[in-house]
């Protein structure tokens, strides 16, 4: 099963390498990892999507907690949460296809953020199913390049993950 784990880390030199090394060294499968600073500049928040059964997830959580620079670990999969990913897709945009591409983008509540003679670059945000769906729809036009952020997650409701 896939789990989304939120990890608060001290914003220090080498912390990403520690976490990446922990996953590779212990043979945990990582699907995606995204990281950015929080409102407290000394703390960054990572969202790690990892695959494994309950026993593996227990170890992942415990091993992450064991790292000195890791401040909090929460497996959001255990509670109601929202998960979003952003993707930039550069797709071939011939004159005759442009209207249809625009309409697909609108249906998906996306944006065209760059235009050239031959291409559109489309920005889409959503859960994984939505991203997969639009990629499938755009594929026949010719996807030239794709860049995905990996999932970021947050628990629903008033609770928040703090240091």
């Amino acid at each position: 099963m896939r789990h989304s784990i939120s990890v608060l880390v001290e914003n220090q030199f080498g912390v990403l390498a520690r976490i990446a090394g922990l996953f590779s060294g212990r043979g945990f499968n990582i699907d995606s990892l995204s990281v950015g600073v929080t409102t407290d500049p000394s703390i960054s928040r990572m969202t790690i999507v990892v695959r494994g059964d309950d026993r593996i997830l227990e170890q992942v959580t415990k091993q992450l907690n064991k790292l000195i620079n890791v401040v909090r670990v929460v497996d959001l999969t255990k509670e109601e949460h929202v998960g979003r990913e952003m993707v930039l897709i550069k797709v071939t945009a011939n004159q005759q296809d442009r209207a249809e591409l625009l309409s697909i983008t609108n249906i998906f509540r996306g944006k065209i953020v760059d235009v050239s003679q031959e291409t559109y670059t489309i920005e889409i945000t959503g859960d994984e199913n939505k991203i997969v769906a639009i990629i499938k729809l755009l594929a026949p036009f010719g996807i030239r390049e794709i860049a995905r952020t990996g999932r970021v997650c947050m628990g629903r409701g008033g609770k928040s993950i703090k240091v």
Binding site: E10, F13, G21, L22, Q59, K62, L67, I68, V70, V71
Partner: protein, 562 residues
């Protein structure tokens, strides 16, 4: 007050009550060595950085204090890697200071540059590259705090050369605040109460205890617990000395080369109480057949040890000393209501097993049996020596036959299994305990991995004794080849070993040799009667095996008596 980075380092060592460090100088640490020269810190110069890190580790294991090692950048740092991994696997508190090239040159493949922080990340509890001298006082304080608290472990502090010359006014802090590190020592009382009830109800309880007993210094509590509950005790290799080897409730070591009766007890037990042990594969054998009838209680300071290999029914996270003290109180409360000795039949069964299949060897072969050498060492030191070991057959025989009665008297690389560990570790132990007998039980193979340290023991007049069980083989691998590879001794016969007597003499130490069983005692006596370092070359039966044995990946109950 303004001080250079090098001065801050010396100040930090003094503030952390470090009385000795083990090291080897070099270009990147030349400023530190200049500051060290004439300071109050004793420095022991080894002949190889691996010797320095193992000596710091041996010092830490022999005392419980944090061992300190200082080496230069590049090869100096990389030579400590095996020793750092050794300390990490066995949870030994060590702080390693490595030199680094000046900060502007980092990443440029400078002379003697290695990314030691990157290299040691997976084998340290934590590590630091100091890029600003103002952070240095805090980093040194944190390094010692992290190494010595919670589940202990090695910490590396990488010190660029320019940082050692730079000046700071930041004081050495009194306290540490780490957002992400706050080890929990106090055991959960509710869990401890449940544990007490389980123990009172068990008919076949078994205490399975590891290195955590030594780290938390709870050997007295363990003894009280065992006697109170009349539960037999089996130690891991790391736990040896945590329970008196001569006690009637003691069953010796369990696992691959444990006693037959300890392994049978695990297999028959209805309640395993694991304390400071981590269900290592050398202990459990085939995991699905480990303790098939038992509920498992696990006491450990490291939450990630719990249910890592074996599913635990009742975990208690915290310091074993705190938890055992609380548990004993709870048990005494329960005992008032329940006086029957639950374990009488169980102890009778174990006694019968002990008589049926004791540890033994052929005493009438006319050859020197390695087990006999260990027994003679025990007899002539009255079991009071600090024994270090190398890795392999020598290690297992020492573990099986010496009979350890005190914690911190058996120093051995358990987790990583590092050949070449024992001799430098003996240096650390001897520095820590100048008045005690320190013996490295070695094989001819593993002694050759760090024998350059003979120069160190001679230089510092350390009376370390090395007992080489010389069989001209890499014995443990040969044993596996004999048993499982049809005696195809692929590269396990050394063919050529040095004359260890002459070798010792060349370094200025004493060399002694025994070729017959009747010479063993007199060689040991001569060695113990000199205050010089001694290498004893015991020409043992070359194809003697360590027995009994659980084949790798086999079930404990299928132990072969060999």
């Amino acid at each position: 007050m303004k001080r250079t980075g090098a001065q801050v380092l010396i100040e930090g060592l003094q503030k952390e009550n470090v009385d000795v460090i083990f090291g080897f100088p070099g270009g990147a640490v030349i400023k530190i060595y200049d500051e060290l020269f004439g300071s109050s810190i004793k420095h022991v110069l080894t002949r190889h950085e691996q010797g320095a890190i193992h000596a710091a580790d041996g010092y830490a294991r022999a005392t419980g204090k944090t061992g300190v090692c200082l080496v230069t950048s590049g090869p100096g740092a990389t030579n400590t890697v095996t020793g750092i991994a050794t300390a990490y696997m066995d949870s030994v508190p060590v702080v390693v200071f490595t030199g680094q090239v000046p900060t502007p040159m980092i990443g440029n493949d400078a002379f003697q540059e290695a990314d030691i922080v990157g290299i040691t990340r997976p084998i340290t509890k934590h590590n630091y590259l100091v890029k600003d001298v103002n952070e240095l006082p805090r980093v040194i304080k944190e390094a010692f705090y992290i190494a010595g608290t919670g589940r202990p472990g090695p910490v590396v502090v990488d010190l660029p050369k320019d940082i050692m010359a730079a000046v700071t006014e930041n004081p050495y802090p009194d306290q540490v605040t780490l957002k992400g590190y706050n080890p929990n020592y106090s055991g959960h009382l509710g869990q401890i109460k449940r544990m007490a009830v389980e123990i009172m109800q068990a008919k076949k309880p078994l205490l399975y205890t590891g290195g955590g007993i030594i780290s938390s210094a709870c050997h007295n509590e363990l003894l009280e617990l065992a006697e109170l509950t009349q539960a037999p005790v089996t130690n891991t290799l790391m736990g040896l000395g945590g329970f008196p080897g001569t006690h009637p409730l003691f069953m010796g070591m369990l696992g691959m080369h444990g006693t037959w009766y300890a392994n049978m007890a695990v297999t028959e037990s209805d309640l395993i109480i694991a304390i400071g042990a981590r269900f290592d594969d050398r202990v459990t054998g085939k995991i699905t057949t480990f303790a098939p009838h038992a509920k498992i209680i696990h006491i450990d300071i490291d939450p990630s040890s719990i249910s890592k290999n074996v599913k635990v029914d009742l975990p208690v996270v915290g310091d074993a000393k705190d938890i055992l003290a609380k548990l004993i109180t709870e048990l005494k409360l329960l005992k008032a209501k329940n006086e029957t000795a639950h374990t009488k039949d169980w102890l009778a069964q174990i006694k019968e097993w002990k008589q049926k299949y004791p540890l033994k060897y052929d005493q009438n072969s006319g050859k020197i049996k390695p087990q006999f050498v260990i027994e003679e060492l025990h007899r002539l030191t009255k079991g009071e020596a600090i024994i270090t070991t190398e890795v392999g057959q020598n290690q297992m025989w020492a573990a099986q036959f010496y009979g350890f009665n005190h914690p911190r008297s058996f120093l051995s690389s358990g987790g990583l299994g590092t050949m070449g560990y024992g001799f430098p570790a003996a240096i650390g132990a001897q520095i820590a305990h100048p008045d005690r007998i320190v013996i490295d039980v070695a094989g001819d193979g593993s002694f050759q991995m760090n024998m350059q340290e003979l120069a160190t023991v001679v230089q510092y007049r350390l009376p370390v004794k090395v007992a080489i069980l010389n069989n001209y083989f890499w014995g443990m691998v040969r044993q596996w080849q004999e048993l499982f590879f049809n005696r195809r001794y692929s590269f396990t016969c050394t063919h050529c070993a040095p004359d260890f007597v002459k070798l010792a003499e060349a370094f200025g130490a004493v060399g002694l040799r025994a070729e017959k069983p009747e010479e063993v005692a007199s060689v040991i006596e001569q060695a113990l009667n000199t205050d010089k370092p001694v290498v004893m070359d015991f020409r043992v039966d070359p194809e003697e095996n360590v027995a009994p044995m659980v084949p790798a990946g086999g079930a404990l109950k299928d132990m072969i008596l060999v």
